[in-house]
Symmetry: D2
Subunit: 286 residues, 4 copies
């Protein structure tokens, strides 16, 4: 998987935490979610709406992204929003819709958990627990997720160094849960033309330093729908094990992040292009 | 060339300067350097050492990168170094060596100009004038380069927004020289595990906003030799029109930037992989 | 309190959330903690160790900072540490020690709460609930603190814009708790010679935009013990309503943040200097 | 001058360049400009318009800032502007006006030099050569200024680390000119409510590391006229040896940076307040 890596010994300026270090598991961790494997030769695409809004929206989007080749469905029921006056998600009702769609389509679902008190509830409905950027250093939440048996999708904080990110993952592994998926989703810089600056160099860096699977979120990473395809392709060329993308059946009407969501057609078209890139780096889209 | 771009109208929060704006030349500018065209369907690879060190070093590297498929040779004669006590380049002697190698191999050469007083001299030897990151807002230098008839490779400042970058290019075009090549080479962020943070989202952003060719420098963008291949591939997948990379016949002994220079073999191997990515995005390495 | 502010109308590029906006309470909120008032003409100094380590350490430090003029005692019982292998705090035992010292000295205490499940417990022991930088956008925690009747010291996230910071405070006010104290504690930038970059311009900016009291943490803001006095003085000159500083009876042996903690003598000397600055800006240290 | 500095030995993560290092001149360099001394116990205020616009504007502003207590006049004749379509300064005509006002009032003048070819010309008119932020790493310009006998005001680059800043100053000293004045003027961060983030911690840091005088520019550091007074006071409290501020006789009509320029009355009022802070830190405004 690291065919491009030169043979020069790699040095970083910090000690690697023991359990996440690649040395502790050189072959690389494979996280299994139902029949899908993250971290192997196959590349996994996770897609779905920013937020679960309604039964109709979720079913339409889920069926379409599955037809396009997505293997896991994303959708937020509890939404971390900068303003208290923005839509905060449907809560448990959203979780139930996710479960229902999952049963219907067979797609596993990933959804965010924001509070230690939600982990038990969310675990009843979700196949993967997502810990969002704003909570990357929410240590009680990391510990609680570490005590769960569910796979955890841990997003990089928007101002977290690679070292801090690995230490955050170590909190989870240290509780006995090694089913952790890392996700680069853009960091905060001085640049304002994009929502965040997608740091694709984090992909080869993380692949070198840790045995955990690494995926990329080009939707939050750019904040711009038209830029998602370019960056999705770049992510795979850089060596990512997967992608997580926002797709909506009607982006203009989305209650959340519509400007960065692909339409169903755009997603389908993109998948075709991604397959070519995957082959060019000797992998394949699952 | 922008096959991936969604049809959503693009808005940025700043007015585009007139001459660099894509609207002023929707088809895209092609910069011709001898027989090589930058900005067309073909992707151009520029390679060579950080600094010209000796006749032997330059010839060995030039012949090897040409054999590998590079179309333009890079090499610094005047070097902008953070410390006054570091190697500052061979100066005019370096320029002469570049010319000699160029005559011998047929490869056009690009080299940096740091001072308005050097432009006339450098123009006698170089095919492309490079303006480095630290001088992106050196307005007298931009104006002087604009009065030259030479193509200009203008690197993005490590602290420059996309808006400022386009305005810097406008300084050159405004003097009547539209042969400007843009180059993303990494921006400065809080992250320290890489030398800079390569902002690949700048590629689709610049391709949308301006008609100028856009290339990427993964060597400075990462500062890490082993990471160059991953990011070079990602750059092409993101839509770059070319790459500029540091290659040295003996990286361990390089007087400058050895830790980010590819060896001759690594470069050759990488070129093979890049060709596959180019095909996957419906382009080709020239 | 805003004597220095020019009469030019102030515009920022974002809408101010309603409840934190200065317009909603032009006179300025005063947060009362026992007999101490934050947000009035008097300047309040909060001091104490990074972490509660032992009865002896806490008593020695508390008595000394009280003698020096501190009005509120700080000390962490639950510590958010980057690594799971670092000292995580004494937990409830630490809270009990804080209560005991508070009863003995009469100093109110502020301590951090990291988890929604801790709020009830911590509220039994603390006079002010601190929400740390890493949790500034932990919305469930903000809401829960908003439902509490305790004053809340909300630290600015190290990656938070002024707009996001005000929105985070709005989450608390929106639940009915307007006893919120804001605290600039350094933001993350490219500079590495200091731990963070203390953004003192946040002080006049926040004082203009909101009615809430604004204090400064020069200990985390610089990470360097010898730099704390300069920045503490600058903070008061910039218009801060208070300071929170780390002080330890034996900084060299501290289990946490010793390199940024003042010794007892240094604190006492600094207080003398701070009184002079306060007078120069027509205020006083309480 | 460093009364507040704790006795803890100071360590930074980089080697200090020899000539700028405080060890090479522990007592501190005093830069004399006519009768004014920068770097001693007295604090020097430099004031004037962003750009020289006209005889009337310059005379009115110069007389007023002198009456208020400024000891040196600032004013740009060659202006580095982001856009080629913005006012670029009056050039040599502006230099002549500066000289005329200087002769009339006795105030020494500081003005920016942007090009190695301008140094001889500007030196005929100016008492201090300013090298602006965008040129902090313009090494030919630094060397040329180092060969001059004029004092040099070297502004910190907006994305320069303290280490890079000191190395840039070393370029000047290394040519035999040790009359260098350092100036913190705000760095670029993610925060957008201010034009830059004024890094006042650079003041004690630089005072520790180097023997050169350190001043602060709160006008560019904030970009906001109403915030200049707070930050000017904070700069002096932090230990700055001087201030450089933009003052205009009619800020609303200024051709450049009007939104950050103080009016004549505001400047005069501010000087009164600054005197109090200076006394509080045991210094005085010259």
């Amino acid at each position: 998987m690291e065919a491009n890596v030169c043979s020069v010994p790699m040095k970083v300026g910090f000690p690697l935490p023991e359990k996440v270090s690649r040395e502790s598991w050189p072959g690389g961790t494979i996280v299994r979610v139902k029949e899908t494997e993250l971290g192997g030769k196959g590349i996994v695409v996770i897609a779905g709406p920013c937020a679960v809004e309604s039964r109709e929206q979720l079913f339409a989007t889920a069926r379409s992204v599955m037809a396009g080749g997505a293997k896991i469905l994303r959708g937020g029921a509890f939404k971390p929003r900068s303003s208290p006056y923005n839509f905060q998600g449907l809560g448990e009702e959203g979780l139930k819709l996710l479960r229902e769609v999952s049963s219907d389509t067979g797609l596993p679902v990933v959804t965010e958990v924001m509070d230690t008190r939600q982990i038990e509830l969310v675990s009843q409905y979700a196949d993967i627990l997502q810990i969002g950027s704003r909570n990357m250093q929410n240590y009680p939440l990391l510990k609680e997720a570490g005590m769960s048996r569910k796979p955890v999708l841990l997003k990089r904080g928007m101002m977290a160094t690679i070292e801090e990110y690995l230490l955050a993952a170590e909190y989870i592994l240290n509780q006995g849960n090694d089913k952790v998926i890392l996700c680069e989703r853009g960091i905060r810089t001085f640049e304002t033309s994009t929502r965040n600056t997608l740091d694709l160099s984090a992909v080869p860096m993380l692949k070198q330093l840790t045995h955990l699977p690494v995926i990329v979120d080009p939707s939050h990473g750019t904040g711009l729908r038209w830029m998602v395809p370019s960056m999705a392709k770049a992510a795979i060329a850089a060596g990512a094990d997967g992608l997580i993308m926002e797709v909506h059946n009607d982006p203009e009407q989305a209650l959340c992040d519509g400007q960065q969501s692909l339409s169903l057609d755009e997603f389908s078209l993109l998948m075709t292009e991604l397959r070519k890139i995957a082959i060019a780096v000797d992998r394949m889209i699952l």
